[in-house]
């Protein structure tokens, strides 16, 4: 039962998010607003109820699975992807690499600048 209660809670927040986004004409998706509202609720409550912990743990531990049906959608775009595969592949891979490298370095630098005794240790790898 706790698991079911947790799932219900997630759906209620998502539904409320979807309704508010449409009512207020916000440019963000409903689930994102739902997440913000749930976060605010947890802050006020001061702890994560067991039911919610179970449900979110189950969903997030297999997050990759949820992307599979959208990924299979690739088969409907084979033609278009084949026609323009060079710009698509290069732009996608290079831009992802650049974004990750730049964001990680900016985060590391700004953490050193703004957060006082934040020591970034060089641990031996492997």
């Amino acid at each position: 039962m706790p698991f079911l209660n947790g799932v219900t809670l997630l759906l209620v927040y998502q539904l409320t998010g979807e309704i508010l986004v449409r009512l207020l004409g916000l440019p963000i998706p409903g689930p994102v607003l739902g997440m913000v509202m749930l976060f605010a609720t947890l802050m006020i409550r001061g702890s994560v109820p067991d039911s919610l912990g179970q449900a979110s743990g189950a969903l997030l531990s297999h997050l990759s699975l949820l992307f599979v049906p959208a990924g299979v959608g690739m088969m409907t775009h084979f033609g278009r992807i084949a026609d323009e595969w060079v710009p698509i592949a290069l732009a996608l891979v290079l831009s992802t690499v650049v974004t990750m490298v730049a964001t990680a370095l900016i985060m590391q630098l700004t953490t050193r600048w703004f957060v006082t005794p934040q020591r970034v240790e060089d641990e031996p790898n492997d």
Partner: protein, 245 residues
Amino acid sequence: MTEPGLRDIWVYLSASPLLGLTMTLVAYGLAYRLYLKTHASPLANPVVTSVALLILVLLATGTSYQDYFEGGQFVHFLLGPATVALAVPLYQQFRRLRELWLPVTISLLCGVVIAAGSSVALAKLLGGSLEIQMSLAPKSATAPVAMGISEKIGGLPSLTAVLVVLTGITGAVLGTKLFEWIRVKDDTAKGIAMGVAAHGIGTARAFQVSSQMGAFSGLAMALSAFATALLVPWLVDLMASWLPV
């Protein structure tokens, strides 16, 4: 499938959600087993292998994506509640987040602008059509957000969904190696970069490295969904006037 009985069963099954849903879970189960067998090598990312396996099966059996999605939609639907569920790790990491709010904000804004700007600029320079450029622009945001933005700026939402998944896979596969090369060791910095560039698939990968990296990746994914929705339509307009077509 020469026997009429079997054919009837196939006709029934291919029109029912049961087949697509079962196939998705079985394919993912196999892919996940392979992933564990390879000692969690990022190259055996379970999204890649299960998508490849499913496409092969669908092509071999002549099943359309629409028929498959009758069942696949139930898994796809869970992306919504999973997005809401990100509030939990976010809350659990809040203490750490509070002391890092300024670096996180700066990195996020830079990351979102670089992700969209570089993909549009690169696609344009390499001769991609306007539709491709616009479909690529929101590629680093999580699927439901990216599809909405793509539609708004003149891309193809369903193509964007695919590009989002490919971006996530690229990030999840290359991420840990890249961070090693540029000598970023801090799990918070790695998590933020992963979440900004590679949304949920990157976050799934980050959770495998450490729960702290996962939580920060989830945080970055959630916040960059906001930032992408607010900034990208405006950024794309701005770039259209800067870069000659």
